[in-house]
């Protein structure tokens, strides 16, 4: 629920309660005043009729004035009582106030009842209810319009800022720049967020620099170790066991080197570092790389089939595109089966690389994540597809993976 609606609802509920209480209070007060007024008038009317009675006038206007001759004499007390009388015109019992007086004239005794209807009180209730309902409806309507207007005025900067925050990334290296608002709460929030983003950017930069420095440092160390191992290999006194040990060390170092290089490239891609762009003839690149892989594939009895039916050229960095194709192709050869195939189909703006292979046990959705799968393959460092994905992201290519009819399929759309 939106804040403004929440506040409105709160207002409306409370206003409703206030209206009801006010209605009851006003009704009771007015009712009392009105009854008092009616009784006052009843007394005056009663006095007047008594005067007219003694003057000789006979008034009988049922049910408002009733004069009855009676036998016994009562002392007239003249107070007001409640009663209810059936009215033909209304076809129901209606409330009345009455004064009963006992009078004596010419030796006869009379009972005089003067009444007044309280129907006016019902009218009061209805009138009051109508007035209150209209006021409450008007209040609600006005509140609604005020809310709409204030929502626009007050919340526009809030929503712009929200949009900014949604699109914000610490990778931009800049703190999130939120607009100044006239509302203190928003301003406070903005300043907190600004500080927070500055801190995040700072931390991110430090981390980035650290990992870059670390990778470069490692690269130097790896080169030294690699060169020393290669020198050791030249020693003719080594026996088979020594050489095997050396080889294992060397192979693992190569893997470390590969991981490190991949991480450096990933970091660059993530930082969206500047990469020189050229117009690249994609079929040429694919053909060159697939030819380069042909004898490796052959040694694993895997046939590479290329169907390049497009002359697509893309504006991007040659080295990155080579890496992209290289990683995809080497993956499709690595994760293949004996006598399998790799098909490279380029048509229009899209590339499909599919290869025979067993279904991965892992969730296919994370094949593009770092170190996500293929752990069972000792020759895989698990970063190839992560790099592919980052390159696609950099250039806005769409990439999808699907396993269908014993084929792993990777689609790339270069639009």
């Amino acid at each position: 629920m939106k804040l403004i609606n929440k506040i409105s609802r709160y207002y409306l509920i409370n206003a409703g309660i206030v209206f009801i209480v006010a209605f009851v209070g006003i009704y009771i007060t007015l009712n009392w005043i009105l009854t008092d007024e009616i009784d006052e008038r009843l007394k005056i009317k009663n006095d007047e009729i008594i005067k007219r009675f003694y003057a000789g006038e006979i008034i009988n206007n049922s049910p408002y004035v009733e004069l009855l001759q009676i036998d016994s004499v009562f002392k007239s007390r003249g107070y007001i009582t409640d009663t209810s009388i059936y009215l033909k015109s209304e076809k129901e019992n209606e409330p009345f106030h009455q004064i009963i007086s006992f009078l004596a004239k010419n030796g006869n005794n009379y009972k005089l009842t003067v009444r007044t209807s309280l129907i006016e009180k019902d009218d009061l209730f209805i009138t009051l209810l109508v007035i209150f309902s209209i006021t409450f409806a008007a209040f609600t309507l006005i509140l609604f319009f005020i809310n709409r207007k204030s929502a626009k005025e007050i919340f526009i900067p809030f929503y712009t800022d929200l949009e900014k925050l949604k699109n914000y990334s610490v990778k931009s290296g800049l703190p999130v720049n939120l607009t100044y608002s006239k509302i203190d709460e928003f301003n406070e929030l903005n300043s907190v967020l600004n500080t927070l983003s500055e801190k995040a950017v700072h931390e991110y930069r430090a981390l980035k620099e650290f990992s870059e420095d670390l990778s470069h440092e490692l690269q130097t160390l790896v080169s030294v170790i690699k060169s020393k191992l290669e020198l050791l290999l030249q020693n003719s006194d080594l026996d088979k066991v020594d050489i095997n040990n050396l080889q294992t060390a060397y192979q693992n170092l190569s893997k470390l080197d590969n991981i490190n290089r991949s991480l450096i490239l990933l970091a660059k891609l993530e930082n969206k570092d500047f990469f020189n762009s050229d117009e690249i003839n994609l079929p040429d690149v694919i053909l060159r790389i697939s030819t380069n892989f042909s004898d490796i594939a052959e040694s694993k009895r895997i046939s590479i089939i290329t169907k390049l039916n497009s002359e697509i050229r893309i504006n991007s960095n040659l080295s990155l595109i080579e890496t992209l194709i290289n990683n995809l192709l080497s993956n499709s050869i690595k994760h293949n089966i004996e006598n399998g195939t790799v098909e490279i189909i380029l048509s229009g703006n899209s590339l499909l690389i599919q290869n025979t292979g067993e279904l991965f046990k892992r969730n296919t959705n994370d094949i593009f994540n770092r170190f996500s799968g293929f752990k069972n393959k000792s020759d895989s460092i698990g970063l190839g597809l992560a790099i592919v994905k980052k390159i696609c992201e950099l250039y806005g290519f769409r990439i999808d993976y699907k396993y269908e009819k014993d084929f792993h399929k990777i689609f790339i759309n270069f639009d």
Partner: protein, 225 residues
């Protein structure tokens, strides 16, 4: 040949010196930008290895300086920065070749030889090893004066082995040399064996000696002994 190694990583510089020791080069090593500048203004070199990231300056400046004072000197850039831009900058300034750390010593050795061949033996780029003769310009190989037909890969492997004769070359380094940097991702590197086998057969079939030796599956060595 006289080589200058400009490399701040002392251990790596030592490795390079040790690996190339039998090549009859005169090698001088400097570890920083200042010394490098002094050296190149004092003496002539045939080939210089320049690390781009020196503690007190950029190797790129040394390349331009070298180009000015010793235009004949071949230049190979070595850098830890796996940056494509650095590579382009270095080559634009006139470097002959570019190697990214960590590299194989054998690869560096082969590159040095290649640069020297191109710079100092123009027109007659012929390598003679006993009965084997390689014309590097035309990429042709002769055994006992008879031309043998080698595939692209076989030629690359042979030249790489001969450039590093008497050295054990790992399968990794051979693959990286012949197939390119990215081919090393394949854990199973046995496919190189097929190529070596064919190469040996072609040479011996033409009456050449069997000089390529396998070393317990770790790599290969070209040796006349």
């Amino acid at each position: 040949m006289k080589l200058l190694i400009i490399e701040d990583e002392i251990d790596l510089a030592k490795s390079i010196v040790e690996f190339t020791a039998k090549e009859n080069h005169i090698i001088e090593v400097v570890y920083n930008f200042k010394e490098a500048k002094e050296k190149i203004n004092l003496q002539e070199y045939d080939c210089a290895l320049v690390d781009l990231m020196l503690p007190d300056g950029s190797g790129l400046n040394i390349i331009s300086e070298l180009k000015k004072v010793q235009p004949k000197c071949g230049i190979i850039v070595i850098s830890a920065k796996n940056s494509i831009d650095d590579k382009i900058d270095g080559l634009n300034l006139g470097a002959d070749d570019y190697l990214t750390k960590p590299f194989h010593l054998a690869e560096l050795n082969a590159r040095i030889k290649s640069v020297i061949r191109r710079r100092f033996f123009e027109g007659s780029n012929i390598i003679n090893v006993n009965e084997i003769q390689i014309e590097t310009e035309k990429r042709e190989v002769f055994v006992n004066k008879t031309k043998i037909e080698l595939t692209h890969r076989e030629y690359d492997i042979l030249l790489f082995l001969i450039s590093n004769s008497d050295k054990v070359l790992t399968k990794e380094s051979i693959i990286e040399h012949a197939w390119g940097e990215n081919s090393n991702a394949f854990g199973n590197l046995d496919f190189v064996y097929t190529h070596i086998k064919n190469l040996r057969k072609k040479i011996t079939d033409a009456g050449g000696g069997d000089y390529i030796h396998s070393l317990y599956g770790v790599g290969y060595k070209f040796s006349l002994k």
